[in-house]
């Protein structure tokens, strides 16, 4: 292919023909191309019976200890009974990745009901799956970013991040123009008029790697890559070991060191199970490309908030999308490409 002689990266759309072999010319070998479940997934096809048994055993123990007063007591009200029941069901639910649609609906119902019981307010929670023929990608124009941080604000509000510890998914690095991409000497917590002379700005967040090291290391598969390329976390399945955090080369992950605080009137009530629903203490979270928005066709909050147009989001598989034009026509690069993580987050300059 003549394109391989190019000195910079470009996507020639016309050569794109579906091929069965991988780029090296090897056709698929001993393993079939169809998505096969590995051994544990196969076992997990029948998880409910076993978990149900586990639930019953635990219930037996607890009743013996008299610890389920709240759920069994005759005196307590219907609401507190229901609350306890929801907590009980929630504790024993399975990994979202392996749930059937019916189970997904049930847990979403429980979570919305539980919020209603707690606050008297309603929220809408989606469990929408990935769309066919969609692979999300993101491009960031470092010539355009002025460092205003409107994206950070929008992200915090959209995704119900903890206000007390000022958790932020996005970091904007202020770099010296003469020093190139020198993260060591850059400042990601500046507070002065921007853009400062002789500086440029570069945003980082979760890059939704196509080969994500964080997913590999999770001992319980609480984090995984969805079909549309978004790396998500099941907050209720995460055990909080923080191995993924150590494995991420991009500082993309955040941990809830204590119970997150979001004032009730600031809570974004348009939620997705894998996205901005309220988290609890001791679990990981991170950017999900605003899954509650992007799966509905909208842009992530940061893209929408950016006043300079530095941020572009779109479907990498759509040859007419803006993101594809950027990949095809601009000199794009990614951070730490040598690590083989294949981020779906490209940088470019004018």
């Amino acid at each position: 292919m003549s394109n391989e002689n190019k000195k910079w990266f470009s996507l020639n759309l016309n050569r794109s023909k579906k091929t069965d072999s991988c780029g090296c010319g090897n056709n698929s070998g001993s393993c079939s191309d169809q998505k096969e479940k590995d051994g544990y997934d196969q076992i997990m096809d029948v998880p409910m019976d076993r978990r149900a048994a586990f639930k019953k055993i635990t219930a037996g123990f607890l009743i013996g200890a008299g610890a389920v007063n709240s759920s069994c007591s005759v005196i307590s009200g219907d609401e507190s009974k229901e609350k306890a029941n929801i907590e009980w069901e929630e504790y024993f639910k399975g990994n979202y990745k392996l749930m059937t649609n019916e189970e997904k609906d049930k847990t979403v119902d429980r979570l919305t009901r539980s919020y209603e019981l707690r606050t008297g307010k309603n929220l809408s929670m989606s469990s929408k799956d990935a769309e066919e023929d969609v692979l999300f990608g993101y491009a960031f124009n470092i010539s355009k970013c002025q460092g205003y941080m409107d994206c950070v604000n929008a992200c915090v509000e959209e995704n119900n991040q903890d206000r007390a510890t000022e958790m932020q998914y996005i970091r904007i690095h202020e770099m010296d123009e003469g020093k190139g991409f020198n993260f060591e000497e850059s400042d990601d917590n500046y507070y002065h008029e921007v853009p400062a002379d002789g500086h440029f700005y570069m945003g980082t967040q979760c890059f939704h790697c196509d080969n994500p090291p964080c997913v590999e290391v999770c001992p319980v598969q609480a984090t995984w890559k969805e079909k549309d390329g978004i790396v998500v976390i099941d907050y209720d399945w995460c055990i909080g070991c923080r191995y993924c955090m150590a494995a991420c080369p991009y500082d993309g992950r955040r941990f809830n060191w204590k119970t997150p605080e979001v004032p009730e009137k600031e809570v974004n009530k348009k939620q997705h199970y894998l996205g901005n629903r309220l988290r609890k203490k001791g679990v990981m979270e991170k950017c999900t490309f605003c899954i509650q928005r992007s799966r509905e066709g909208q842009n992530p909050a940061c893209v929408e908030a950016c006043p300079t147009g530095s941020r572009t989001f779109g479907n990498l598989l759509d040859p007419k999308s803006n993101i594809r034009w950027i990949l095809d026509n601009k000199k794009v690069f990614r951070l730490k490409e040598d690590l083989g993580t294949e981020p779906k987050f490209w940088y470019y300059m004018d």
Binding site: Y40, I43, E184, V217, P219, V220, C238, C241, V283, M284
Partner: protein, 406 residues
Amino acid sequence: MKTLKVFRSLVKDAMLEVTHGNRAYHIWMAVLSFIMLFGMYNYSIQLDEGLSATGMTDRVSWGLYISNFTFLVGVAAAAVMLVLPAYVLKNVDFKQAVLIGEGLAVAALLMCLAFVVADMGGPARLWHMIPGIGVFNFPNSMLAWDVIVLNGYLFINITIPLYILMMRYQGKTPNPKVYIPGVFLSVFWAVGIHMVTAFLYQGLQARPFWNNALLGPRFLASAFAAGPALIIIVLAIIRKFTSFKVPDTTIKKISMIVTVAAQINLIMLISELFKEFYAPTHHSISAVYLFFGLNGKTALLPWIWTSISLNVIATIALTFHKIRNNLKILYVLCGMLFVAIWIEKGFGLIVPGFIPGPWGKIAEYTPTFVEISVTLGIWAMGAFIFTILAKTGIAVELGQRVYKKK
């Protein structure tokens, strides 16, 4: 049926054994219990507030707990150094030490598991890891491997000594055909637990300080220095306070193992330092931070230089037969080596892996009071378990407790 009866009797005897002792023993156990309770109290604070009660942050997301976990895996693995010659090479000298060593391994493993649980953000959700009812990310996650190998090792190290004790308890000779395969397995397994634990860090391309082919072998070398060093100290204490006979030759043989391992460890340290500082790249920044400090941030400097000085002095001194064969000096040197490796494999390995962060930012780590208390509590738990195991084991070995047919 009969085995069960013997076992029940053994447990009963063990209960009697561990509840009786002289005043020093009772004080020792009382102090340990107090520290354990204090640790548990602080753990309850941590459970209540979340891990914000510790000094860990998004920047340094593993701290004292994981440091101690890493170190103790090494201690547990080191039991094999005694198992191998004792059982297979019929080296009588070692046999007394082996029960102690395996008891130490069991205690260390339980401490490891306790440290991992203490480090979890959601310990109540740990059942998600149990195969069958949870989801286990095997073989992709090294942590999943680690859970398997640690629990497997724990199982092996409980069954083999238990079998031997049961036999001795009944006044029989243990059958080598029964325990030799187990011993073989445990030998490979011990190397496995430490390599897998090293791979846990080594496999992370995100952390150049850990992503280093020497990490696994160096874990082994340091473990085989620190573990037997601890065993020597423990044997010395047992010799002093009980009637259990441990000949000088046993201790001297173990000190040989310590010496060789410490020498190999030192060579590997030099190799690492050479690689980091002869042609430093931006991957060497963590090492610069660890050994010299970065941008005025120097929290680890006193620790690592203490560790290196102790390590070098102890290793050089151990190299000379004359010094090594003086038991009093040997105990001191073993203590020095133990502390040196505890720092090196703990603070000196885990914390600098996170500093500076992926984008070059430095946030230092200082453990909080809660964290230190929980850590002390878990160490006390380990000592408590080991004391119980050792006391029972010694009583059976000495024939003080035997199975009485009714």
